[in-house]
Symmetry: C2
Subunit: 395 residues, 2 copies
């Protein structure tokens, strides 16, 4: 369903490898996630413990922490074969060892759409609208898109006299707003050496924006150091998305939105749903990343839906249970002869062709007890070997 | 499609983690695949290079090399919540570093169905028939099921005076028949210290079986040390499958079939397709494996389809191309105003709702050239911004 909707927006499904060369994953663009990489040992003769001076001498691959780095590497390797601009859908797992002390294997699934080769704001707009449509379809009728721009964030930090070289430290702390709250963030900023004036200027500006109703008035509050082009693009994205959103979706300007990854360069966005802690989707523009592989970087933009966060609401275990009305237990007696086996399988096949999910089940002595167990296990019907009658299991 | 077919046989989809604790993956049951595990470094404080005496001190997890080990671990952890017998479908990647010298990351996709808790031959029969049906559906009309039994293999080795403790060495070599041919296998057996009498007895027996037409005569050629129960079960599986196979599928007895994994205990099978080197599916019974986790092992049986082997035939890259007749390029002029953006998106939405895959594309000066490029890229139609007419792209 998700894929079908994305396809209608012109995105095409691709698959990228789950592991990449470790150098690609640790070039600084992944922000804090680079600390959370599952690293894979070299193999064969290349693995030499006695010659290793550091752990990294033993490692050549890492499991990907997102789908963006592999996408850009894939694009660079295959660009001659790909349409331009390139619009991709990826669904797949990513790994982050975010509780290293527990030794747990943390695997998430993400579904990303990206546009490589489109510098216009139509890229952002389409990504947000497509993801919003998908989220509505899978049951998140009411959700809010939080929109920001890395350049607005930078402008606000500049206005608070935070030096460019300290921005990333500041933003890493700001990014914890969801987890440790406003007071927590302010305190951590002070602990990290920002002075109280810097902190109060920044959060006063943010407060003003949050307590102002209209976008145009919010924009007026922004520092003049932010270029007009950034502002115009931001407004256009905001207004066009707002015009086009359907159902219970809405958009707001959130000047505190950071997004962890170091690779974002322009507009950034997250989608959150009422009663649901944390974002269910997020993304942004990352125009520089492909410059690592290509002589000239391609403008790029993407949005990612996090599946586990969504699925954790609707399912408890990983075991799927089909609908009762389709499930048929085909009961057969013990010790069938080969000919009877064939007959049994032919009869089962008949019911499958009638559309039922047919589970062959040896009949037990206490058939009533067995039927009530089958009912508990989700079977709606049974047929006995040699009989042509489909019977409903009384539940 | 594959999943739907398997579901009709009563299998339910589950997901298991991609990594397991390294001890589970290296307990000897994976045969040679245990040499090919991608090992994952410990994280955080547990990773101490200076205290490591061996590589294994640095490792706590490994990427799975098949779907069977994770399934059995999953079953043991969740059995109270699962139906009995438990019939599972899994689709997912596995990893084997089978060219360690190249440092490549080898990732395969497999689709497995398994039955845990059924000791009857109906398990083998259903698995084989379901997999055969799936293979037919995805285009492998003509395929052959090669059937053997680990106990027949053992009986033949016993009859050639190969000591029980040497069986596994012998079988590892025999398993290379596809790759190095009969002469190669015989030579390697001699190199490994088996004498020429052992080798000639074994391969003479095999030759006799291969040159005998009917199963009942083949069975008569087998050593008397093989129990009647093994023989009867084997015949029943063979005959019932033969009776039920549809289309161009066939079954044959192959006494040289080994299957690499150490965990198999009874019937084993592979499916091969004409003109296609190597097996496209394989499996067997592994009744003992769950004994590692449970006080009493559960009879278990499974079959695995290898996807890359199948997909490599039909696709060259990982990039999917949708059908031309559904694809519409929506051309828009440069420098649209915000209002025009909204109008553009509304128009695009209209065409999506009409069923088209709509790709927004900035109109270039040389529109004819652009249209011919769009045609090459798989677009069948275009619409211009502000026009309501759908036009076919002349190719």
């Amino acid at each position: 369903m998700i894929i079908d909707t994305y396809r209608k927006y012109g995105f095409n499904k691709i698959e990228t490898p789950y592991a990449e060369r470790i150098e690609l994953l640790t070039s600084g663009e992944g922000g804090e996630n680079e600390q959370l990489i599952f690293k894979i040992l070299k193999r064969g003769d290349k693995l030499q413990l006695d010659k290793a001076e550091a752990i990294d001498d033993l490692v050549d691959l890492g499991l990907r922490y997102d789908l963006t780095v592999p996408l850009v590497r894939f694009y660079a390797n295959n660009r001659s074969k790909l349409p331009y601009p390139f619009r991709s859908i990826q669904i797949g797992p990513v790994w982050r060892a975010d509780r290293p002390q527990k030794g747990r294997f943390r695997q998430f699934h993400q579904c990303d759409i990206d546009i490589i080769g489109d510098s216009s704001i139509l890229a952002e707009i389409q990504l947000i609208l497509a993801a919003s449509e998908v989220l509505q379809q899978i049951g998140f009728e009411e959700h809010t898109i939080r929109l920001n721009d890395r350049k607005i964030l930078t402008g606000l930090a500049d206005a608070a006299n935070i030096k460019p070289e300290d921005h990333s430290t500041f933003f890493i702390t700001l990014d914890k707003l969801d987890k440790i709250g406003l007071d927590g963030v302010k305190q951590e900023c002070l602990n990290k050496g920002f002075n109280s004036k810097q902190v109060s200027i920044f959060f006063e500006a943010v407060h003003q924006i949050f307590t102002t109703a209209s976008l145009s008035e919010q924009i007026n509050l922004l520092p003049k150091s932010i270029t007009e082009q950034v502002i115009i693009s931001f407004q256009q994205i905001f207004q066009t998305v707002q015009d086009q959103l359907i159902g219970g979706a809405s958009i707001k300007f959130d000047p505190t939105l950071v997004r962890g990854m170091g690779y974002y360069t322009g507009p950034i966005f997250e989608i959150e749903s009422k009663g649901f802690g944390g974002a269910i989707a997020g993304g942004g523009r990352y125009d520089d990343m492909s410059g690592k592989y290509l002589s000239k970087p391609e403008p790029s933009c993407g949005i990612s839906i996090g599946f586990e966060r969504i699925l954790s609401i609707i399912e408890d275990t990983n075991f799927e249970i089909p609908k009762k009305e389709n499930r048929l237990a085909f009961l057969y007696p013990k010790n069938l002869s080969p000919n009877e086996f064939s007959e049994l399988l032919s009869q089962a096949k008949y019911w499958r062709e009638e559309g039922y999910i047919v589970t062959l089940t040896e009949q037990k002595k206490n058939t009533n007890k067995q039927l009530s167990q089958l009912s508990e296990n989700g079977f709606g019907f049974f047929v006995k070997y040699g009989e042509s009658e489909l019977r409903k299991i009384q539940s």
